[in-house]
C-alpha cells in the first residue's frame, strides 16, 4: 500500500495521469472502484470556483414539477438537491451529517427527537429560515390529502411542533433510532412557509446552493449560484445546466463531443469503449441499488419456504453479475442490505448456485419438478428480461421450469409489480437497514412486494428501531438479514453499481455511494479542475 501512497502523491502533484494511476493501483491489487475513488480523493485537494456544469440525465419528463413530494426520478432529485437543503445530509462517506439542522437530541426511548436549527440561513426569496418553515415542509407530506411519495416514511411522526424559532420537536408513534436519516430523504426539502402553510411547493425556492433560473420540465433546468449560500465549502461552479437526455446514445455522444460535462447511467455494454476516450472517464460507486426477483409468499407454490429456497439455490449470481451488469456490480445474498450499509452482515455465508440443494428443497416441499411463471420487463431494470432468461437456464438444471413472461414496460409498476406472483423488481435501496426493511419487508406495508409475514422478524424490526445502542442493533440487524435470506420471499441476485461518465475537466472528492451522481449532490459538490 505504500507504493499506492507514492502514486497518490504523484497524481496530486500532477506528475502522473489519472489513467496511469488507476492502472498501477489495479496492478497492485486494488479493485477498479477502489482505484478510481482513490484517484478522485487525491485529485480532490483544492476545489476551484467558476464554470458552468452541464449534466445530461437519462431521466426526467414533461410532467416533472419542482414539488419534491412528487419526485420519483434522478432528474428532479439532482435538481432538487441543488435548489433545496434538508435537515440532515448523508455525506460522501455515508455518514449522517447536519445540514439545516445544527444538532439533534433524542429521548432515551428514541421517541422524542429535538432538532436545533441552523441560525441565519436565508431562503432564495430573502426570508430567514425558522421552525415554522420546517414544520410546514414536513406537514406538506402528511395529512389525508397528501399525494407525497414520502407519506409512508414520515408516517411514524405523531406530532411535530416548534419550541421557539430555532428548535423543532418531533414526537414519534414508536421509538425510531434512525429518524434523522429519514429527514435526509430527497422528498423532505425545506421550503418557505407563511401562516403555517408552504407558500408554494412548486416555486423552487429553497435554501440550497443554487437558485432555479429557468425550469422547462422534460427539457432542461438552468441554475445559478446562490450568492448568500451558507455553506462555505460547497457550490463551486457559478451555474449549472441539467439536461434531460433519455436516449443513451445521445447522452454518450453529448459527453464525448463536449456538449455536457457529466452523465448518469452509462450503457454498460459500451462502457469500456467510453473508458478509452482521453477526454472522459468512468466513475462508479457500489451502493444500495439492487435488483430482485420477488415471490408472493401468500400465493402457491411460494407459500412453502422450501420452494423459495429451491429457487434461491437455483440462480447463478456470479453469472448474472458478469452477463447483465458486465461486472459493474456485486452479488447479492438474498437480503436487501448493501455492503456500504452500516450494519451489513459480512459474515453471513454467501448463498451459492447449487442445483443439488435446490433439488433437495424441492423434494422437501414434496415436489419432483416445479413450473413457475416469472414476469419481467426492462422497466423493472435494464436487462431484466435477459436476467430472467438466464435464471430460467440456471434453474432448468435443478429441475425447475421457469416460464419467462415478457410484460409491457408501460404500466409495469401498476399492473405487474405487487400483482404477479413472481416478478423482477428494481430497488434504489435505502441508507439505513430499518428504512429498507420497513419499506418493503415489514408486515402489511404497501410495498411489501413478497407479501411476507414473519413474526420474529417484525418483532426485532420494531425493537431495533427503538434501540439506541449500536452494538445491540448490529446483532439485531444481523439476525434480520439472516432471516430474510433464509426465509424471505425475495431472490436478490445482484447489487448494481452506479456508473457515471465524467469529462476529465470535472473534479470531485470521494463520491457518495448512497445515490447516483454523488448522492444527488453533484452540482454543489463538484468543480472544474
Amino acid at each position: 500500500m505504500r507504493e499506492i501512497e507514492r502514486y497518490r502523491g504523484l497524481l496530486a502533484a500532477g506528475r502522473m495521469t489519472r489513467r496511469d494511476f488507476v492502472q498501477r493501483a489495479m496492478a497492485l491489487g486494488a479493485t477498479t472502484a477502489l482505484a478510481t475513488s482513490m484517484a478522485g480523493g487525491a485529485l480532490a485537494a483544492t476545489p476551484k470556483k467558476g464554470g458552468t456544469l452541464r449534466l445530461g440525465i437519462g431521466h426526467g419528463s414533461t410532467s416533472d414539477t419542482l414539488d419534491m413530494a412528487a419526485t420519483t426520478d434522478l432528474y428532479m432529485q439532482v435538481v432538487g438537491n441543488a435548489g433545496y437543503n434538508y435537515l440532515t445530509e448523508v455525506s460522501n462517506a455515508g455518514k449522517l451529517t447536519p445540514e439545516l439542522a445544527e444538532s439533534w437530541d433524542v429521548s432515551p426511548d428514541a421517541k422524542v427527537w429535538t432538532f436545533k436549527l441552523r441560525k441565519g440561513v436565508e431562503f432564495h426569496n430573502g426570508k430567514t429560515m425558522d421552525s415554522g418553515d420546517v414544520i410546514a415542509s414536513i406537514n406538506h407530506h402528511l395529512g389525508e390529502d397528501s399525494k407525497s411519495a414520502a407519506k409512508a416514511i414520515l408516517d411514524p411522526i405523531a406530532e411535530v411542533k416548534a419550541d421557539g424559532k430555532d428548535t423543532v420537536v418531533f414526537t414519534m408513534k414508536t421509538g425510531n433510532a434512525d429518524f434523522p436519516f429519514i429527514l435526509s430523504d430527497y422528498h423532505v426539502a425545506i421550503m418557505p412557509a407563511k401562516d403555517g402553510k408552504l407558500i408554494d411547493p412548486r416555486s423552487g425556492i429553497g435554501t440550497g446552493g443554487y437558485t432555479i433560473e429557468n425550469f422547462e420540465p422534460g427539457v432542461r433546468t438552468t441554475l445559478k449560484r446562490n450568492p448568500n449560500y451558507w455553506k462555505a465549502d460547497r457550490a463551486h461552479v457559478d451555474s449549472a445546466e441539467v439536461l434531460v437526455i433519455q436516449d443513451t446514445t445521445a447522452r454518450t455522444n453529448a459527453l464525448t463531443t463536449g456538449e455536457i460535462d457529466a452523465m448518469d447511467k452509462v450503457d454498460l455494454k459500451t462502457a469500456h469503449l467510453l473508458g478509452r476516450s482521453k477526454k472522459v472517464r468512468l466513475e462508479e460507486v457500489s451502493g444500495t441499488q439492487h435488483f430482485t426477483f420477488a415471490m408472493r409468499t401468500d400465493t402457491a407454490p411460494f407459500t412453502d419456504n422450501h420452494v423459495r429456497l429451491a429457487l434461491k439455490y437455483a440462480i447463478d449470481r456470479e453469472a448474472l453479475v458478469k452477463t447483465i451488469l458486465l461486472g459493474h456490480g456485486v452479488i447479492g445474498n438474498d437480503h436487501p442490505i448493501g455492503r456500504s450499509n452500516q450494519y451489513h452482515a459480512d459474515d453471513l455465508p454467501q448463498r451459492a448456485y447449487d442445483p443439488d440443494k435446490a433439488k433437495f428443497h424441492l423434494k422437501e416441499a414434496g415436489l419432483s419438478t416445479l413450473k413457475v411463471d416469472l414476469s419481467a420487463a426492462d422497466a423493472a431494470f435494464a436487462g431484466a428480461v435477459d436476467a430472467a432468461v438466464l435464471y430460467k437456464e440456471h434453474a432448468a438444471k435443478a429441475g425447475i421450469n421457469i416460464n419467462v413472461v415478457r410484460e409491457p414496460n408501460d404500466g409495469y409498476w401498476s399492473n405487474v409489480w405487487l400483482k404477479k406472483p413472481f416478478c423482477a423488481v428494481y430497488w434504489g435501496g435505502r441508507p439505513t437497514e430499518d428504512w429498507m426493511f420497513s419499506t418493503a419487508y415489514a408486515d402489511g406495508v404497501p410495498w411489501n412486494d413478497t407479501y411476507w409475514k414473519h413474526d420474529r422478524f417484525n418483532k426485532i424490526l420494531v425493537e431495533a428501531r427503538g434501540e439506541l445502542d449500536g452494538s445491540k442493533r448490529r446483532g439485531m440487524y444481523h439476525e434480520m438479514q439472516k432471516i430474510v435470506s433464509d426465509e424471505g420471499g425475495v431472490v436478490v441476485p445482484m447489487f448494481a453499481n452506479y456508473v457515471m461518465g465524467l469529462s476529465n475537466k470535472v473534479a470531485h472528492d470521494k463520491l457518495g455511494a448512497n445515490w447516483a451522481m454523488d448522492g444527488f449532490r453533484a452540482i454543489e459538490r463538484w468543480w472544474f479542475a
Binding site: 414533461t62 412548486r202 420540465p217 445521445a250 463531443t257 455536457i260 404500466g411 401498476s414
Partner: protein, 318 residues
C-alpha cells in the same frame, strides 16, 4: 374564385368534424391503456392512499364521458385545460414546443424542397444517364435507412469525428436566430435525407410522364431547348402531384419526427406527446393530437387549393 372559397369553407367545416372524431378516439384510446395518471405519475411509489388523493383532486374518479364532455366544453370556450402533471396551462406548455417543431420543420423544408425539386427536374432532363442513376441510388438509399440510423451516421461524422455541428440540439428561446439554425442543422439534414427521395422521385416521374404528351412533342418540333421545355412547359403542368407529395412530406415533418427529436434531444412536440401518453396526462395528449390532426387537415386543404389554382380544370369535374 368563389368556387374555391366555397370549397375551403366546406372543407374547414368537415375538418372540425374530423377533429371532434379524432379527439373522441384519442380519449377512448388513452382510456383503454392500463393504469391512469395517478398510478403512472407515482410509479413504483404509488400507494392506495396517494393514488386516491390524486384521483380526487383531478376528478379521475368520475366516469369517462363526464370527463370527456367537461373537456370538450372547455375547448369551445378556448380553454385547453391544465396539464394534470404540472398544473400549467396546456396552451403555455405546448406553445414553446410547437414553435420548436415548426422551426425544425421549416429549416428542413427550406433545405429539402428546393433540392428535391431541382434534382427531380435535372433527373428528368438527363433521364437514364449516369447522373440520373446516381441521384436515384443515393436518395433511395437514404430513404431506405431508418431515420435514427441516418441520424447516428451524421452524428458520427459531422459531430464526433470532425466536430462541426453539436451532437445534441440544445436550443432555448434566448438563442439568436442563426445560433438556433446552427443547432438544428443535424436533425434538419437527417429529415432532409429521409424525405428527399419521395419528392424528387415524384417530380421526376410526373415530368417524364408529361414529356410523352403531344404538346411537348410539338414544342420539340419547334426546336425549343430541352431545358426550356422541361421548366416552362412540363413543370407547370406537373405541379399538382408534386405539390401533393411536398405537402404530405411537410405534414410528416411536423407530426412524424419523434425519433429524430429523441436522438438529437430536441424539445419538440413529439417528445411532449410521448411523455404525456406515458403518464396518461390527458389534456396534453388531447391538445397535441388535435394540433397534429389540424396540421394534416390544413396542409391537405392547402395542397388541394394550390393544385386547383395551378390546374383550373380540376375545378370542373366531369
Amino acid at each position: 374564385m368563389a368556387k374555391i372559397l366555397k370549397m375551403v369553407a366546406q372543407r374547414l367545416a368537415l375538418g372540425l368534424l374530423t377533429l371532434f372524431a379524432v379527439s373522441l378516439i384519442i380519449f377512448l384510446g388513452v382510456e383503454l391503456l392500463p393504469g391512469d395518471f395517478a398510478q403512472e405519475i407515482l410509479g413504483q411509489s404509488a400507494t392506495p392512499e396517494t393514488v386516491a388523493a390524486f384521483r380526487r383532486e383531478l376528478g379521475l374518479d368520475l366516469p369517462w364521458y363526464t370527463r370527456y364532455f367537461d373537456w370538450l366544453g372547455g375547448i369551445f370556450h378556448g380553454d385547453f385545460g391544465k396539464s394534470f402533471a404540472s398544473d400549467r396551462e396546456v396552451s403555455e406548455l405546448i406553445g414553446g414546443r410547437l414553435l420548436n417543431t415548426l422551426f425544425l420543420a421549416a429549416v428542413a423544408a427550406v433545405i429539402s424542397v428546393p433540392i428535391a425539386v431541382a434534382l427531380g427536374v435535372l433527373a428528368a432532363l438527363y433521364r437514364n444517364t449516369l447522373f440520373d442513376r446516381t441521384i436515384n441510388v443515393f436518395t433511395l438509399t437514404s430513404i431506405s435507412f431508418p431515420d435514427f440510423f441516418v441520424a447516428y451516421i451524421l452524428i458520427l461524422f459531422l459531430s464526433v469525428s470532425w466536430n462541426i455541428f453539436p451532437s445534441i440540439s440544445n436550443v432555448s428561446s434566448d438563442l439568436g436566430f442563426w445560433e438556433h439554425v446552427y443547432r438544428v442543422i443535424l436533425p434538419a439534414l437527417t429529415l432532409t435525407l429521409v424525405i428527399i427521395a419521395h419528392m424528387m422521385r415524384m417530380t421526376r416521374a410526373s415530368i417524364i410522364n408529361l414529356l410523352a404528351s403531344p404538346y411537348i412533342e410539338m414544342a420539340m418540333l419547334k426546336g425549343i431547348s430541352r431545358s426550356r421545355i422541361v421548366t416552362h412547359h412540363a413543370l407547370p403542368n406537373a405541379l399538382a402531384p408534386i405539390i401533393n407529395v411536398i405537402v404530405i412530406n411537410l405534414a410528416f415533418l411536423v407530426v412524424g419526427v419523434v425519433v429524430v427529436e429523441v436522438v438529437f434531444v430536441y424539445p419538440g412536440l413529439g417528445q411532449l406527446l410521448v411523455d404525456s401518453v406515458a403518464k396518461r396526462d390527458m389534456p396534453v395528449v388531447q391538445a397535441s393530437c388535435l394540433i397534429f390532426a389540424a396540421t394534416y387537415i390544413l396542409l391537405n386543404l392547402t395542397a388541394d387549393v394550390l393544385s386547383k389554382l395551378t390546374n383550373p380544370r380540376l375545378l370542373h369535374p366531369k
